[in-house]
């Protein structure tokens, strides 16, 4: 499959590439399955070979040979630096403050970076029952910085989450600081249209769009009046070599791309 330079990047590929740019060499990352895992592998294969990957299943310093299909994939165990109990993962690594970067997605996100993965509709009588928190709540509480990866639509970027599973910067009017929360909270929402950052009040601000995307298109996919940065930039897009790496080596079966 020949790839033209800079052409052809799908939304997932752009999101994966952009997420990888947020990772620095040596960062200790709490990795989720899907695009976050791909972004980490891409970072490791390019600018951050020393990225240290931890999975909530207990794998520490994992270097999976195949693309794991779940966070409990056996390939995460074989050849990892350590495998520990989940009690150690949540207490000694996450609650102790050792996780520098967390990754989350969700069914809904609001302007404060609050995420819902629990229910659509009321909790007592839900329209859709979603999987629930898993480790997301504590990742959102404790990671020093949190990256959110989600495709944008009015259905997912909402004025108010039906349920706050994972807290962002401001919950029911209270800031992280007021609540005494240890982690730094979300720093980016990486979407298929562009990237949102957070201002000093903790509100999401559109700071980047992908080439060819207008702020109006982004607003049209967002359920609240979206703040837009005066210094809006164009998100870096993957070049041909990165696309080749992603498609041929990192996700050859197109599980997530």
């Amino acid at each position: 499959m020949a790839i033209e330079p800079g052409q052809d990047a799908s939304a997932s590929e752009r999101m994966t590439y952009r997420a990888a740019q947020e990772l620095q060499d040596g960062n200790v990352v709490f990795v989720g399955i899907g695009l976050p895992n791909l972004a980490c592998n891409l970072a490791r294969a390019t600018h951050a070979p020393g990225l240290f990957m931890i999975y909530e299943s207990g794998a520490v310093g994992a270097i999976p040979e195949r693309l794991p299909v779940s966070i409990g994939d056996p390939s995460l165990v074989t050849d990892s630096l350590a495998v520990v109990s989940q009690a150690d993962i949540f207490q000694c690594l996450l609650q102790r403050g050792l996780i520098e970067v967390g990754f989350l997605g969700g069914a809904q996100v609001d302007r404060w970076g609050n995420i819902n993965t629990t229910v659509i509709g009321s909790y007592a009588n839900p329209k859709v029952r979603l999987p629930g928190s898993g480790g997301a709540c504590e990742i959102a509480v404790h990671a020093r910085r949190l990256l959110i990866i989600m495709r944008m639509s009015k259905r997912t970027f909402v004025e108010k989450c039906d349920f706050i599973t994972s807290p962002g910067h401001r919950m029911n009017g209270k800031s992280r600081e007021e609540l005494g929360m240890p982690g730094g909270g979300p720093t980016r929402i990486i979407t298929d249209l562009g990237v949102l950052s957070f201002d000093a009040t903790g509100e999401a601000v559109l700071t980047e769009v992908y080439a060819g995307v207008t702020p109006a298109q982004v607003q049209a996919a967002c359920g609240w009046p979206l703040k837009t940065s005066n210094a809006l930039t164009t998100s870096a897009s993957p070049d041909a070599s990165v696309l080749r790496l992603l498609r041929e080596k990192l996700d050859p079966k197109h599980l997530y791309l």
Partner: protein, 302 residues
């Protein structure tokens, strides 16, 4: 004491109508064989507890065994939903399942408290979000040193824990490697422990590497030898996860008719695990069997 018995005996001696139960495992070591036997024994009114209720818990729900689920993430990992659970927990469902919901850390903390013999466990969590609002069991305590408020969860002592391991002796000393999940915490928290093993080995082999022992025999009541007992889940060093099955499950479980047909064929329609394995597509087990990656032994001499 030799505690070896069949799965049928272990379940009928330990699990009663209304029991609270954990079939533990985090992706790894999920004992489907135990879940299927519980379905066959038509046990009712169970409280099913696990961080990650997955396919086998969904099957227990579909089969009508479960009244209440205590959990923190319910899905088909990497694939989709648990459809029996959804059918019984969304608006309009007739027989609603009772849900008691935490995050992973919260439910794990309940097991930690149970395993440590404490009535509660503190955790620095649940600020601002809705989980603690939706679950009255989550309370707070004030740190006597810093004055800070911390979340708490109450100790959990399941009536029965079923733990799959790579190997155990006949007394129930169980060794596990690879992902450990919350198996140790579940074992010590529970009132009764069934150990299911891929291999039954002489006690001498256990004693050769005592740091690998996760569960000591003194807390084990039954030991079951059940090779391939986790399929379609996996056992590190024995067999891989049957990912194709997890993917196919989405279609099987979406409709009650195909779901029930599956249970008829693979659960009610067989006597035991051997019967289940015999119905799998031929060659599948060979395909899933692990390619060896032995580590070296270490020296316990002095």
């Amino acid at each position: 004491m030799n505690k070896l018995c069949s799965m049928k005996e272990a379940i009928s001696a330990s699990v009663k109508n209304g029991s609270s139960l954990v079939i533990d495992g985090f992706t790894h070591l999920i004992c489907f064989a135990a879940g299927h036997e519980i379905i066959r024994q038509r046990l009712r009114g169970l409280t099913a507890i696990r961080l990650t209720p997955d396919l086998v818990y969904d099957q227990l729900i579909e089969a009508g065994c479960v009244n209440k689920l205590v959990f923190s993430w319910a899905g088909n990992p990497g694939v989709g939903s648990l459809h029996a659970l959804r059918r019984r927990s969304e608006a309009g469902s007739s027989e609603r399942l009772e849900l008691e919901e935490y995050s992973h850390f919260g439910l794990l903390a309940r097991l930690l408290a149970g395993s440590a013999g404490l009535p509660f466990w503190p955790l620095n969590n649940y600020f601002g979000g809705d989980i603690a609002q939706a679950n009255p069991a989550i309370k707070t305590v004030q740190c006597p040193y810093t004055g800070r408020e911390l979340a708490t969860v109450p100790a959990l002592h399941p009536d029965v824990a079923i733990l799959h391991c790579q190997r155990a002796d006949k007394e129930g000393n169980a060794q596990v490697w690879g992902l450990l999940g919350s198996q140790k915490e579940v074992a010590f928290a529970a009132k009764r422990v069934i150990v299911v093993a891929e291999q039954i080995v002489p006690t001498e082999l256990i004693r050769k590497d005592p740091n690998r022992t996760l569960v000591p025999s003194i807390i084990v009541s039954h030991v079951v030898h059940e090779p391939w007992g986790c399929h379609p889940s996996f056992v590190q060093g024995f067999y891989d996860r049957d990912n194709d099955f997890y993917v196919k499950w989405e279609d099987i479980s979406r409709q009650p008719e195909t779901y029930q047909a599956y249970l008829e064929e693979f659960v009610y329609g067989v006597e035991d695990r051997r019967g289940y394995l015999a119905r799998l597509e031929s060659g599948l087990l060979d395909k899933l069997r692990a390619k060896a990656r032995m580590c070296e032994g270490v020296d316990y001499g002095y």
